[in-house]
């Protein structure tokens, strides 16, 4: 019996050979498992990085997520479930680490933090400031925003992943966007006239 997972089709469409890769990994094929890691490492690492704001911690977190995956491979139903599972475990583990170690909502972006190379039409300073402001949100709100705007998850999947009501997810998104806009205006990164 296969379950339905709320995966946005546009971003998480599985390549054709992924089901066989998953089967081979399940049967103990190390190369297949490594291929799965390579396929998802960017997503898992990025969730950890946006949540924890440190590359070393993000790498530890991503490694822990893939170790958990290795132990739970039998429970992964299909490729879509794999992506959902990795995002869910990474986000929840990051929230757990933040709460336990009290990195706090004001953990600054680490010195020399890697910001993706800017594209032609974007403002690198704004990107950096938005990432920093995101780090000032509460762990749960940060996880909601990372899953929504980095992983392009819909509200239903975020609610399922973080085990919170859909309305709470919507509320986090609304409040976080308002706060980010306010901070961006305060920092003169944008002007009030630019708001929709």
């Amino acid at each position: 019996m296969s379950r339905e997972f709320p995966i946005p089709v546009s971003q998480h469409t599985a390549p054709l050979d992924m089901p066989s890769l998953l089967r081979r990994a399940r049967s103990g094929d190390a190369d297949a498992f490594e291929a799965l890691v390579r396929t998802h490492q960017s997503s898992v690492f990025s969730i950890g990085y946006r949540m924890l704001n440190r590359r070393d911690l993000a790498e530890d977190l991503a490694q822990e997520v893939f170790l958990q995956l290795y132990r739970r491979l039998e429970s992964i139903e299909n490729f879509e479930h794999l992506g959902f599972w990795l995002r869910r475990v990474a986000a929840n583990l990051a929230i757990d680490w933040l709460r336990r170690a009290a990195y706090g909502a004001t953990q600054p972006l680490e010195a020399g933090a890697e910001v993706p190379a800017p594209q032609a039409d974007e403002d690198p300073l704004l990107n950096r400031e938005l990432s920093r402001m995101l780090g000032e949100l509460s762990p749960a709100a940060r996880a909601v925003m990372v899953l929504r705007y980095q992983e392009d998850c819909d509200v239903a999947e975020i609610a399922t992943s973080l085990e919170m009501p859909v309305n709470t997810v919507k509320s986090h998104i609304k409040r976080s966007l308002t706060a980010l806009r306010g901070k961006a205006i305060g920092a003169r990164l944008i002007t009030a006239e630019e708001l929709p």
């Binding site: 103990g28 190390a30 498992f33 490594e34 890691v37 390579r38 490492q41 960017s42 997503s43 690492f45 990025s46 990085y49 946006r50 590359r55 993000a58 790498e59 991503a62 490694q63 893939f66 170790l67 290795y70 132990r71 491979l73 039998e74 429970s75 890697e114 910001v115 993706p116 594209q119 974007e122 403002d123 704004l126 990107n127 950096r128 938005l130 990432s131 995101l134 925003m145 990372v146 705007y149 980095q150 392009d152 966007l177 980010l180 806009r181 961006a184 944008i190 630019e194 708001l195 929709p196």
Partner: protein, 128 residues
């Protein structure tokens, strides 16, 4: 820029992990993956050869005890029936003896009454 959401999407583009990340993950994996829902089979241990008599001694002893108990029960029941029968015959014989003695006494008394003189009979009637 008029859309914070679009800027957020740009700012939160996925970041690649450090080089060699996948290799480090593979090195950190345990050597053997725990299999889900595997029940270990019981280990078959060689059993030492057992003497046939020792193997059968307990059931044979139980059967013999059962037979002895049944026979003993039957014997005791037979003995009790015999005893009751003898006691009944003895009681019957004594009853017959008692009846015989009583009958003889009554006969003697009847004879005595019949052979008594007539005057003695009248005196007896006047006195009463």
């Amino acid at each position: 820029m008029n859309d914070v959401e679009a800027e957020l999407r740009r700012a939160l583009r996925p970041v690649e992990p450090p080089p060699g990340f996948a290799e480090r993950v593979m090195r950190a994996l345990p050597t053997q993956r725990p299999m889900a829902a595997v029940t270990p089979l019981p280990i078959a241990r060689p059993t030492p050869p057992v003497n046939a008599w020792r193997r059968l001694s307990t059931p044979v002893a139980l059967a013999a005890s059962l037979v002895v108990a049944v026979l003993l029960g039957q014997h005791l029941a037979f003995e009790r029936a015999q005893r009751e029968q003898r006691a009944g015959l003895e009681a019957s014989r004594e009853l017959m003896q008692a009846l015989r003695v009583t009958s003889q006494k009554l006969d003697a008394a009847y004879q005595a009454v019949q052979s008594a003189p007539a005057g003695a009979q009248e005196d007896e009637e006047n006195r009463s």
